[in-house]
Symmetry: C2
Subunit: 237 residues, 2 copies
């Protein structure tokens, strides 16, 4: 079992400091929502974010969207061997049912996240596919209780991932933590939660690139691709 955590993710609704801007109130009105229920998106709100604390780490739902699409579409997830969580920069946690089929279209994903932040779960009725809870990264890890926790960060020890994962995958309940933000690094207090910090490339890589490589390396370490491929061969016989 692999636990994938996208941490300090750049996903939030319009913060109080921005809700009084006329342009943002107009955007909200057009969509029949209140400003507090709109997702912050630097591609639309960049101008208004300039005085926001940590502005360069905020308002990037695209990162969470693309990373989740990469993660949830893997054979590992289809096999039920992956648990996925999104921890946000404002200490909320998204619990993601592995069976969720996320919208591939960005604007629909934004709509879904807005519904999630308002209703605390989606869909609002029936089987919950994503739920949202206020929770710190520390609390999340205390709840999951991984046997080993690895942070992927530029300041980590350089490793060749495929080789490294062969060792790492022996941990019964391995948690991997990837940053869900565009630039910079994890908060110091978060890095303290790591059993190990590693780096897989000398240059910064996008969150979705790191995520898909981790999962593929883990699959390979547990021999999943061969097992699944043999299924086809047996059916063919």
């Amino acid at each position: 079992m692999l636990i994938f955590i996208l941490a300090e993710s750049s996903l939030e609704t319009i913060p109080p400091e921005l809700r009084q801007y006329k342009a943002i109130r107009m955007q909200a009105m057009k969509r029949g929502k209140k400003p507090k229920d709109l997702l912050l998106d630097s591609s639309r709100h960049h101008y208004y974010m300039r005085n926001l604390k940590d502005a360069e780490k905020r308002g990037r739902p695209d990162i969470i969207h693309i990373t989740l699409l990469n993660v949830l579409g893997t054979p590992l997830n289809k096999e039920g061997l992956l648990q996925t969580y999104v921890h946000t920069i404002n200490d909320k946690v998204l619990y993601i049912n592995p069976e969720v089929r996320l919208p591939k279209n960005y604007n629909r994903f934004v709509g879904l996240m807005e519904q999630l932040f308002t209703k605390r779960k989606v869909p609002p009725k029936g089987k919950t596919l994503i739920k949202l809870r206020p929770k710190t990264l520390r609390e999340l890890l205390q709840e999951i209780k991984p046997t080993f926790t690895v942070f992927f960060t530029e300041e980590g020890e350089p490793v060749e991932l495929l080789q490294f994962m062969k060792e790492l995958s022996k941990h019964e309940k391995l948690a991997v933590v990837v940053g869900g933000f565009p630039h910079g690094t994890f908060e110091k207090d978060h890095l303290k939660l790591a059993d190990l910090k590693v780096s897989i490339d000398p240059e910064p890589l996008e969150a979705w690139t790191v995520a898909s490589r981790i999962i593929y390396a883990y699959e390979s370490a547990i021999n999943l691709p061969t097992m699944r491929i043999n299924k086809i061969k047996h059916i063919d016989l």
Copy 2:
């Protein structure tokens, strides 16, 4: 050198049959464009696409966007060892400069593609980062002249990709072809262009998942991760 081709990609402007719909003309007007210069997007135009030929394979720019972000962000591309092409369902080819920094935001990507289909290159002035040419997949392959061409398709021979790529990467100029469409398979005439057809999983995988696995497996086969990681270690010394 690896040649990555996303083929029969679900990327086109509004086709003639749809340009007379009032809703589509309104959408175009709002954006100060003509209907023929808008990108077809099934999340907006699904209703109007119902009588369109091959409708289920069309109007999915999100697939091209997410796949290109996955491909262009790889260490292989940063090393200048990857050439990327998008062939579209209507036989146009996008030539992609490896140095292009694609918009991460979907709506901006759509705007960029609309500019590309209108102007045939982006940016319109200065160094070209993407150019568009009318060209079939056969013509593209004749132009590139790969020494070996592999199609990734559900009907292919099942292979364990990491192992398989160790052999495959010995080809001097290897072309890999992945479908840039949501469902179904390649056209028969296109499959004839393959030296080999392979499948890496018994279930259909998203284009971006296949693409990022191919590139990572290729990097691993040519030992790129270790070489790059050693760079960090040398700097540290």
